[in-house]
Subunit: 214 residues, 2 copies
DNA sequence: CCCTTTACTGAACACTGTTCATTTTTAAAG
DNA sequence: CTTTAAAAATGAACAGTGTTCAGTAAAGGG
């Protein structure tokens, strides 16, 4: 009964083909501007067909999100290997920042958009997201175990670090750091390249944590 | 020539009436679901009329954003007055967190949405936003001057703190902290109320900064 | 070859933001 | 008052959206 299997395979291929097309379009336009019709046109099928493979636009973009997490995880994991745990933490943070800044649309979808979350509920869309989180906490714990960073609650510190870098990426890709560029504000941070600002601030926080010996 | 003035006044009133209606609707539904027609119906005018007062939906919501900043600023400013600068910083952060969590839609509009930013470019939509930022940096500098917190660059530290609290609010209101609630993750942070998680983590970071004496 | 099941289509529906010719209201001038 | 010019408000029309579903085409088993 190889036929059933082949159909199954083709179905899976097509599902992937759809999310590939959607991802491509999504890198050029915002979520709202990537219409089902555009996706359909790109995969050379009619609109209705998409609905045979994904219940609605949200579910389709939940799959895009899932793929984005995989990309992010594989990108971030490709960091320089070091014995020094603090250096590891630094590298992890910097690659997270880089991924977010270089892939603003995917980042939005992963961490900021409200849309696909309704459809999420269960399922393993966050599988690679969880893996990322585990990577962070394990490195933080390495730092703590090595006595390089003092923390009563390493899990909570991990969450704080995630929030910090997420916050910076979020503000950066939402153009909210532009306030530092106008004449609105008047402080030493003004007119610095916002990407550099983000990276340097991350570095500063790591140093604070490292120096902070009880 | 009181007539010209009266018309001017009426025009301004109507502009405000529109953004009030839009804000109300926006608290019930997402940006995408607050249509120009719904706003028009609520102010009891036809759609076209709205376009005589605001160039497009983005410009209209830029005004909503501006009003949101004023609300946020006035809410946050109503914090307990203390002599202790670190206590001030704590209160500021906690009220920021509270505003964000209690007004997720407004918060999105202020700090996360990409939409009204194109229309922003110039103008004083961020007037109260800037005021908020100045409040933060001044309190941080108080802490530094009082020797309660050590920081080479107080402006940068302010940015880091903003990023931290923004990051937490952002993740919280985007339901991204739900990963701590499923069985996905397995850590001490799981199944804690996410609002409490955010507040406690903020507290932890303040303590780290305070204890971090060179 | 037939026939049932599966796959696919695209017109239709109710919505969206935006425009603009048309109509109504307003205020000044005669 | 009446006339008239200007200002304000209208809502149908346009091109787009997500989603559905009756109808058509293709495929696999007997």
């Amino acid at each position: 009964m190889g036929i059933q299997e082949r159909k199954e395979r083709e179905k899976e291929d097509f599902r992937r083909k759809i999310i590939t097309a959607a991802t491509e379009l999504f890198r050029e336009e915002t979520y709202a501007n990537v219409s089902m019709r555009k996706i359909a046109k790109r995969v050379e099928y009619s609109v209705g067909t998409l609905y045979l493979y994904y219940k609605d636009k949200d579910e389709l973009f939940l799959a895009v999100q899932s793929a984005a997490f995989e990309r992010a995880f594989s990108f971030i994991q490709k960091m320089q290997t070091t014995a020094d745990p603090v250096e590891k933490l630094r590298n992890l943070g910097e690659r997270y920042l880089r991924f977010g800044i270089e892939n603003p649309d995917l980042y939005r979808l992963m961490f900021m958009m409200e849309h696909p979350m309704d459809a999420m509920k269960e399922g393993d869309a966050w599988h690679s997201g969880i893996a990322l989180h585990n990577l962070l906490t394990s490195i933080v714990k390495e730092c703590v175990d090595a006595g390089r960073i003092v923390a009563d609650d390493p899990d909570r510190l991990s969450f704080a670090l995630w929030s910090l870098v997420h916050g910076m990426v979020s503000l950066r890709i939402s153009q909210r750091l532009e306030i530092y560029n106008g004449e609105h504000l008047n402080c030493p941070l003004c007119n610095i390249d916002t990407d550099q600002l983000v990276i340097d601030t991350h570095e500063m926080m790591i140093q604070i944590l490292e120096r902070h010996q009880a």
